[in-house]
Symmetry: C2
Subunit: 337 residues, 2 copies
């Protein structure tokens, strides 16, 4: 009856510790900088922004920027601004996502849209995006700007792709991966790529950091998709089954649908395409995923991308800081098995 | 019974002709560039974007960028990219505005949100904003980037300000002007400022162009506010009284409220703060504005800002191209009297 996903796995927690230690001094400055840039005379802006920003996200993306900058020998302070910009881009995306998905919860708290409305969530997201670009301009690296501006366009493109595919149970795994790369992994990739860029390192190192971030991001999203059908609510910060209720076609669904009988496919079409969800349907969805190994195999796919991410760091194998980044892969995939 | 605003005024149309002529060669390239950058493998993106982009907006803002670049002697092709970026920022703002305001019409067509939904409007807006920043990065001027990134943040801040003030009939004229400067005039100001910036002209010329754009933008918005209570539907591209139905506090309301009797103030509170609008209320609102001269005086205020915009161009009085920019002021204010 479904796959139990023990989120308490200690390996996961330990896996993030080296990154936390590496990034700690920089993150203190990133956090102070973030707070200083949500300020506005318009009271609603810091209220909405800080509700989400202070809600205990892991800040994985800005830590990755600091870590890849450190890894490649950067010693200035542009990494702090770029890390803060990355977190602002992420926060803006979350505000807009929750509006688009009609989500009620985010990180275990009411979504901003439930407290201040969709209107404020859209506009404060826009404000944060504007602030993010201001920070990048302050850094003055046109190459970092190019990477992050490209990421902003690609992320939005991925979200629209997902919206278009949302109700289509026949989405292929490849289609779905294209969405994941764009809407989630692109920001991980950009966050990692700008580190060696500001360090002035060669293209090969920039590409390696980008590849690490891209594959880590895909693994991260796939584990998230699996957790939505098997995680525990308190740790997940949202309700189990949110993706199901919102009719999102994620990899566990893609696999269960393709491996399913005609009756089962009718079930997926009724619940996800037609949105006719009845009591017990979530349990049935989880049962079907168990029957077909859809969650285990989603996690196996995540480990595959995690392995690519690790190998991408091969160029840096003689650097002591590389261990922290390798361990992040363990953290991301150990969240779930 | 209300002020008749004859939109067919020939002075207005003639007023834009010199700018149209000055900007024509550049605008052909801007339009081609805009089309090339709404492309995406995700079919919904060009559909939504082109619905609005091809809907016959005047493209005043990108023309202003071309014109201020020409005025200050610029001869490269960065102005085309920046002009396209300005138009994308504007389009993104309109897509998000219509979601925030729940608007049904835009430029005489159904708003994108009525055809593709709020979700697509939010996300395609984000995509266009990302594309706008990519274009700016391609230009490579950090100063132009700084100005436009700042504008993006200020515009969003102004929209939140308006959201916070939306239902407050006691908004002062100063409060309202702060909203107008941020949400409308800032983009006019930035569009004009980047012209002399890429031309490498001194700060004094940049500031003059910015001041022209800022005051022109304020005049533009105030005339728009007046037209909403007195324009004719076909020319306005939206319904007369949209602002009233959406409970927007604009300058005609601020003036009519401040000059009104206690009974009249109760009327404004009922209709705009409490949203209890009945048949005949729009006509009553227009009658009260007529009684207190609120529309004429909104237009008088607009002419005041128009005069400041004209004087800001004093630095350029010996330049032949300046006439086109002076005539824009006439066009903007003659739309309405």
């Amino acid at each position: 009856m479904g796959v139990v996903v023990p989120l308490e796995d200690r390996t996961g927690e330990a896996g993030l510790a080296p990154l936390l230690a590496l990034a700690a001094p920089g993150m203190e400055r990133v956090n102070a900088f973030i707070l200083s840039r949500t300020g506005s005379d318009v009271a609603m802006i810091p209220e909405v922004a800080n509700h989400l920003i202070s809600s205990g996200g892991k800040r994985l993306r800005p830590m990755l920027t600091l870590a890849t900058a450190a890894l490649t020998g950067y010693s200035g302070d542009a990494d702090v601004r770029l890390a803060a910009a990355v977190e602002f881009m992420h926060t803006a995306t979350l505000l807009h996502d929750d509006v688009v998905d009609g989500s009620e919860m985010r990180r275990g708290k009411l979504a901003a849209r439930m407290l201040w409305g969709n209107e404020a969530s859209v506009l404060v997201g826009d404000f944060l995006l504007g602030q993010a670009f201001k920070m990048m301009v302050e850094v003055g690296s046109l190459e970092a700007l190019r990477i992050l501006a490209e990421a902003a366009a690609v992320i939005a493109e991925g979200e629209v792709m997902q919206l278009s595919a949302a109700k289509n149970t026949t989405t292929t795994e490849d289609d779905y991966l294209a969405v994941v790369r764009a809407k989630t992994a692109e920001l991980f990739a950009a966050a990692c790529e700008v580190g060696p860029v500001i360090a002035g390192r060669p293209k090969a190192e920039q590409a390696a950091a980008r590849s690490y971030g891209m594959n880590l991001g895909v693994a991260f999203q796939l584990v998230d998709d699996a957790l939505d059908y098997g995680g525990r609510e308190a740790k997940l910060g949202k309700k189990v089954g949110d993706d199901f209720r919102e009719g999102k076609i994620t990899l566990p669904v893609v696999l269960a649908y393709r491996r399913g009988t005609p009756d089962e496919r009718a079930f997926w079409k009724r619940t996800l395409e037609d949105g006719q969800v009845e009591d017990g349907d979530l349990e049935e969805a989880i049962r079907l995923m168990g029957k077909h190994g859809a969650i285990e195999d989603t996690l196996a796919r995540a480990r595959h991308y995690g392995a690519i991410a690790r190998d991408a760091l091969g160029l840096f194998q003689d650097k002591p800081d590389v261990k922290a980044l390798l361990d992040v892969v363990g953290f991301v995939t150990a969240r779930a098995h």
